[in-house]
């Protein structure tokens, strides 16, 4: 369903671009390439790609400049490419409006999964359906209930809100700040510990073994992600 979308690859390394071009073409995506911030902004205006893969270290500056140069409504979803150990940069990019990130080196399956998640979201404006199903987890918004494999579990309002935020887009990472802001409001964005405690409680209710979570995944130093169920 996602094949055929145009992907803009922004990376100054020719080899990376070559790999991405080949892999994406093999899965039916057309690619457009850019090596600098200026080229990237130009390419977004001209080709209106469905997804942008954005490397943060570009020769003419920080890749975030691409995010900042365009107003949110004109901006296709962006997946940031970065190295491990740059969790701070990832968080900044995500909070600045990037949809997700990929840590280099990444495998093709990971890449395609991220692109699929982003394309499914369709830019992030789609209304959430009343009933969400993620793997065995079923969230009934009007009735305010959650079931796992048909078994109902009782969540506090906070836990319900947290799960709902994550389930709106399974597979997509949400930063601590985003979750705190959504559930508690913008003034609460520094209270990361608060979030962790509630996530621990939520895990305890949803996961068979909370220390080996299958659904509520932690992205260390970044945030949380609800695992995308295998197709």
């Amino acid at each position: 369903m996602t094949a055929g979308s145009t992907v803009l690859v922004v990376d100054d390394d020719v080899q990376v671009r070559r790999f991405l071009r080949t892999t994406l073409a093999g899965h039916g995506h057309a690619t457009v390439e850019a090596g600098t911030i200026a080229e990237a902004i130009d390419a977004i205006r001209r080709f209106q790609p469905a997804v942008v893969l954005l490397d943060l270290g570009l020769p003419d500056g920080d890749g975030l400049a691409v995010l900042r140069a365009l107003p949110a409504e004109q901006r296709p979803p962006v997946i940031v490419l970065s190295a491990r150990g740059q969790e701070g940069d990832k968080v900044v990019a995500l909070d600045a409006g990037a949809e997700d990130y990929l840590t280099k080196p990444f495998g093709a399956s990971e890449l395609l999964a991220r692109i699929r998640v982003v394309l499914r979201r369709g830019g992030g404006t789609a209304a959430t359906p009343a009933i969400l199903q993620v793997g065995p987890i079923r969230i009934d918004q009007p009735r305010h209930t959650v079931t796992i494999d048909g078994r109902e579990i009782h969540l506090t309002p906070i836990e319900f809100r947290l799960l709902l935020e994550l389930a709106r887009c399974p597979g997509r990472v949400l930063t601590h700040r985003q979750l705190l802001s959504e559930v508690w409001g913008p003034s609460a964005v520094e209270h990361t510990h608060y979030l962790r405690v509630h996530m621990a409680a939520l895990r305890r209710k949803l996961e068979a073994d909370p220390a080996r979570p299958q659904w509520l995944l932690t992205e260390a130093g970044v945030g949380y992600r609800l695992r995308e169920p295998a197709a």
Partner: protein, 594 residues
Amino acid sequence: MSAARAWYASIVPPARMSELRDVSTDPNAARERAAAGAPRGPLEIAPTAAGDRRAPPARAARERPGALAYVRALGTIAATTAFGLLVFPYTTLADITMLYLIAIALASLRGRRPALAAASAAVLALNFCFIPPRFTFAVSDTNHVLTFAVMFAAGLVISTLTGRLRRQEREAVIRERNTAALFAFTRDIAGATTPGDVAAVTVRHLEDVFPIAATVEIPDAGEPGALVSAAGLMPLARAEQAVARWAFEHRAPAGLGTDTLAGARVLALPLVADDAAVGVIIVQARRDPWRQSGAALPLLEAFARQAGLALARVRYAAEARAAALRAHTEELRSSLLSAVSHDLRTPLAVITGAATTLLGADGDRLPPAARTELLSQIVDDARRLERILGNLLQLTRVESGLVPSREWIPVEELVGAALTRLEDAIGDRRVLLDVPPELVASVDPVLFEQVLINLIDNALKHGAPPLELRAWREGAAIALEVRDHGAGIPEGVGERLFDKLVRASTAPGAGLGLAVVRAIALAHGGRVTADSAPGGGARFRVEIPAEPALPGAPRPTRDALAELPVREAPAPTEAPAPTEAPAPTEAPAPTEAR
């Protein structure tokens, strides 16, 4: 330094020096001057070679003993006269003269002028009251003129002798004080280990001993040829900087009272060791100094000499340390480089070989199983490369002083994140977990995930399943243990496993993973241990402080959590239920702390 003494001697004429000494020996004078707060000191009195002498302070004003001394002198004479009049009927004139001599001697202890005043009064009183014709100032016998002369002479001799004695006593006190000051300084400066320490100790002692403000400047390490203030709060004007520079470059005193840049408000003394200037002391008199004599300068020089030697000693020590460290770092770097380059080259060889086989002319004719095998080898070895590079990077980062950004995190979440990332590597091997859900640690989440990943990865590579992962609170620490059921740790290896490049088995790896574990644990104020568990298998333990005193937010309390309001709750508000120890019914029975 002897130049400085010559400087002092040359510009303070001997007469003046003795005059100054005299002043200093007179306690009345000193007291009076101290009370008046007159800003007079050797540094400021010293006339300049250029000849722009300051007007010398009025001599009388500085030497006059207190009025009290005169009152006492005259009082003594008056008392003697009264007593003499009482006893005169029963004694001779010679006895009365003796009484007056005693009175003059007593008054002479107060200084020369009171002595002369007393002698004059005594002569008048004796003449008037006792010498016939009595109650006139006429003198009938010329013998009495000699008596008067003797009385004056006695006063002069006694006052001079007392003065000299006092002066000697005072000089002894000063010498003793100087010796003590110098001794205290020498003792303190011996403990200084950095140029900053040396400078700070020097300034502190100088300002304790002398009524001056002092600054110590040393050569700027960052900018060759420049001087930088190492201690002392005195701000220096550009002209004063020039004085310091000159003294430093010429290894001679400069500024106030010297031949050079005499117009300056400060005196700069170079700190010299081994014929090289290592710094400079700049002093400025702050208030009336207690050292009016030339004794101040030799002491100042002695301080400067000691400070110079200490500065040189500290510098040599630092250079030796730096050289040792450089050698050590160099050695470590080269061994790390050789080991890592080997470990990087091996997977690269596999990747290159496998890829070229697949790409080669016969690649298409390989059986599908062989192709898959080669491809998975490429993937495995690429991951291996990534791990080595990641560890190397992390190690460099932490060892070069990266400060962990701590947060309070449930240990369970850390373990979960690490296990998720190792999902593929673990495969279907059994992992037994015992992590209490309420256990919270203040750690850097990214760094600590790396600790867990490296420990688990290490157990997967060198041990045998099942893996056991435990965490518990032990006194003031949080302990984390990873245990496998393999061969255990060879005898005598133990903690050395945490050193870089040490490997216990022949399994592939660069020997960096555990070094990273230790570096991160140390950065968290913790420690690591390794041993063979009873019953077999290796056991690696990391302990970190449960309540770190240092940076990071205080441990959040449950009350604090309850205070945070929820945004537009979609349902009727319910008490914020979740806690650090949630619903026991659904908790997997964990936690027997061992």
